[in-house]
């Protein structure tokens, strides 16, 4: 149960962080006219195609005592980043980035441009337009981004293993725990955890789809 609690905590932290940094990135991707935009788009999508071990490997190198991130962390906090909960958050944020950014970009792009023009001629600057028009009309996308990055982090395995290792209470997440049980042939325990994860993932996703259908359809109707 400790592993489950750790996974939930990790997933929640990652979802919140991703909403905060994913939103400006998504805004820029949705509205910038820069011609080199495709480069950033491909970078954001990279974790979708890379094996988690590749990402985890480079994250581990960067966080190690001789890596740039590791050195910075040691200078700031006096201890390393690899094999810590913070390191796990950082790697998970990278790994789940597209799951937050892509739904946000899609929903920002879905907002009628004429509404943004209308907002501008009514005296609203970019920030006010974002808060009053773009964000409320993109709520389904925001919810999808939060839930997808939460669920995706909850189920990740490769990156965790590479960066976090397997320290009980610190970096041993549900997926690693299940792997552990299987390795030691404890199929019953593995099954209990696996079923629990399956149930939680399903519950979270269906909650989102249900909410999306009921609450946000009325004003989307054209």
């Amino acid at each position: 149960m400790e592993a489950l609690w750790l996974s939930m905590k990790l997933a929640a932290c990652v979802a919140v962080i991703l909403l905060v940094i994913g939103t400006p990135v998504a805004y820029w991707l949705a509205y910038s006219n820069w011609r080199g935009k495709f480069l950033l788009e491909s970078m954001v999508a990279l974790p979708l195609v890379l094996p988690p071990t590749v990402l985890g490997f480079y994250a581990l190198i960067a966080m190690g005592p001789r890596g740039p991130l590791g050195k910075l962390w040691i200078a700031l906090f006096g201890h390393g980043l690899a094999f810590t909960f913070s390191g796990l958050i950082l790697a998970s944020v990278l790994y789940s980035f597209p799951f937050a950014v892509q739904p946000l970009v899609a929903s920002f792009e879905g907002v009628d441009r004429k509404l943004l023009d209308a907002s501008a001629v009514l005296g609203a600057g970019g920030l006010r337009t974002f808060w009053r028009v773009i964000l409320p009309l993109s709520l389904p996308g925001v919810v999808a981004a939060a839930v997808l990055s939460f669920a995706h982090t909850l189920g990740e395995f490769g990156v965790v293993l590479m960066v976090g290792g397997n320290l009980a209470g610190v970096t041993r997440t549900v997926s690693v725990d299940i792997y552990d049980h299987v390795q030691s042939l404890e199929y019953g325990a593995a099954n209990r955890m696996a079923l629990l994860l399956l149930a939680i993932s399903f519950a979270v996703l269906s909650a989102v789809y249900a909410v999306n259908r009921r609450v946000w359809t009325p004003w989307a109707a054209k």
């Binding site: 009628d112 509404l115 609203a124 004003w219 054209k222």
Partner: protein, 374 residues
């Protein structure tokens, strides 16, 4: 104060705009216009693709001209030479789009209050209340746009754009899709509002009907250029361009050969297309034998079932009704006189004259209903 002084101080919009360079050369801009708009309604008229919306976007600050200057009330909003480009939110120009662009997640009153962020809550509520009343939609204040009918949506969009007392109002076909009665009622309310404010209103349309209903002044735009400007009669009843002629509701557009000039009478005779049909049209600066285009409105043609005589109209042509079609409050007859004419008649006339396809008829055309097109 003397009235001349008032004139000078009145709000005035001027725009000199060049945008969209296609190729090198002095006159290669997609849009190249210079206009002055005084208080009251000025119609911006022209076929779609003429550059009307781009012009409005430039004035509102949503698009940036390549060259030129835009001023309101003497204040410079854009000047390419001095590098001035006031951003859209700071221009105080109101703009109603064809799609209206009401915020779907906000109620009518929240939509209207959107542009009033700099006011105290109490003042804001008073202003919203007053303008909703002025446009007769105060009952809908709590409703979202999704549940509001056409016509009322237009009123809310107008209220939203005018509540912050803009210096200029730009309207891009805002009343498209409404019936004539609803249009007229909304226009009346808009005029009533502007009687007190006296701001320049630039109203884009390609509907001839709306020009007649609204027109004080018209600027005719075609292919990114101002073709003519002035009173509706002067601008639209002597069209100089074929495309403009069609847009202006000249359903009949015929090519003709000049047969002879009667300078003393101010007329000339022309033969229509390849037919034997000869008619008299106003004199143009053309030579005998040259080709001209003649534009005639379908509503300016009279139709008779017997050969008329002792008429002042000079052109009587014999023909046959090819087809007859009822469209709304109007019947459209296609008549073959050697050349095909489209004639608009009332359903009452169709019944009284017992018009049917195949019937022999005479078309009557006044000389001055025939317009020469460049």
């Amino acid at each position: 104060m003397d009235p001349v002084g008032c004139e000078v101080n009145a709000t005035m919009l001027t725009a000199r705009i060049r945008k969209g360079r296609h190729s090198a050369g002095p006159s290669s801009f997609a849009l190249d216009v210079s206009i002055e708009v005084s208080p009251g309604v000025t119609i911006l008229f022209g076929p779609s693709g003429a550059g009307k919306s781009t012009l409005l976007d430039c004035i509102a600050g949503l698009a940036r001209p390549d060259e030129g200057q835009i001023t309101v009330d003497g204040e410079v909003l854009f000047d390419s030479a001095r590098g001035i480009h006031v951003p859209a939110p700071k221009r105080r120009t109101a703009y109603v789009f064809q799609t209206l662009a009401l915020f779907p997640h906000l109620s009518a009153e929240e939509n209207v209050a959107y542009g009033l962020k700099d006011f105290q809550e109490k003042e804001r509520r008073e202003k919203v209340e007053a303008i909703l009343k002025a446009f007769r939609v105060e009952k809908l204040r709590k409703q979202r746009p999704g549940g509001i009918s056409g016509g009322e949506k237009q009123r809310i969009a107008l209220a939203r754009s005018l509540v912050s007392e803009p210096r200029v109002l730009l309207l891009d076909e805002p009343l498209t899709g409404l019936d004539a009665e609803l249009k007229a009622a909304i226009v009346d309310d808009l005029r009533a509002w502007n009687a007190a404010k006296g701001i320049p209103i630039l109203y884009v349309t390609h509907s001839r009907e709306e020009v007649d209903a609204l027109g004080e002044r018209v600027i005719a735009l075609d292919n990114g250029r101002v073709r003519s400007a002035g009173a509706p009669m002067d601008v639209l009843d002597a069209p100089r361009r074929t495309k403009l002629a069609q847009a202006a509701g000249f359903e009949n557009l015929l090519s003709a050969t000049v047969l002879d000039l009667r300078e003393g009478d101010g007329v000339m005779r022309v033969r229509l297309e390849e037919s034997t049909c000869e008619i008299e049209v106003p004199l143009g600066y053309v030579a005998v034998g040259s080709r001209v285009r003649v534009a005639v409105r379908a509503g300016d043609i009279l139709l008779a079932t017997e050969r008329p005589h002792r008429l002042s109209a000079r052109n009587v042509m014999e023909g046959r009704i090819v087809s007859l079609e009822q469209r709304g409050m109007m019947a459209i007859a296609r008549v073959d006189c050697g050349v095909a004419f489209i004639v608009h008649i009332t359903p009452g006339a169709v019944r009284a004259l017992e018009l049917t396809a195949g019937l022999r008829v005479w078309l009557v055309l006044k000389t001055h209903s025939c317009h020469l097109v460049e």
